[in-house]
Symmetry: C2
Subunit: 121 residues, 2 copies
Amino acid sequence: MRNTINIMKALADENRVRIVLALARGELCVCQITEMLELAPSTVSKHLSILKNAGLIKYRKDGRWIHYQLDESSKIPEVGSFLEWIIESLKDSEEVLNDFEKLKTIEKKSLSCVPNNKEER
Amino acid sequence: MRNTINIMKALADENRVRIVLALARGELCVCQITEMLELAPSTVSKHLSILKNAGLIKYRKDGRWIHYQLDESSKIPEVGSFLEWIIESLKDSEEVLNDFEKLKTIEKKSLSCVPNNKEER
DNA sequence: TCTATATTTCGCCACATAACGAAATATAAT
DNA sequence: ATTATATTTCGTTATGTGGCGAAATATAGA
């Protein structure tokens, strides 16, 4: 039950829900999430920490950049089916579609973490 | 999205999760829920109110008694599938099984709301 | 090494929340 | 009508939470 409560608590915040739905679209760097949410980097870092501790997301480092993705094969059994549920529930919601549009713009920008920007360096 | 966040917030509390799982077993009266949770009646009332406002439960009055049940055909679309998910996730958890045992004892007691007790009056 | 940048951690603050007891409300019994 | 009982609402308190800026940590570049 602790696992389930942790998942519920992790998702009891709109910004964290938005992060999860954005990650459902594909892996993102902290800086992209920060720009999408328009929050302080420290706030975003705290949100990501909560999601990670609930077993919902995982990360990989790439130099100074940290990329997060949904942990669909989490060692916590409930996570997989829960992510299916919430993504299905919200995939067409207005806020999520707005975030997707925003992410398209963010991905076009020359953020330092963007792969093609990196390759040109 | 508002609906989903409300559901997440409603379930971000262990006692409210326990209520939902107890109601999955069948309709209960406030007094039974209160005795199961071992909380003040006013606290239980507030928890039930939150669950009701999230669209997860509904009630019927029977004189002074109020019986609550899960609202599986809630007008909020996400509720049905969400309840399926959480019941499936927690049906075998220790805390929930303990509550079921407790409820068996409570149902044997002559609480004022118990139907056969009422019939004998 | 020093400087720059990305991210996390820490400390603080305003607001939210769960618990309780008291009061209010609703219903039944006498 | 008064008394009893079940439940809800209100007010208070202690604890939790989301946001921010500052400091710390991690990595890259000059």
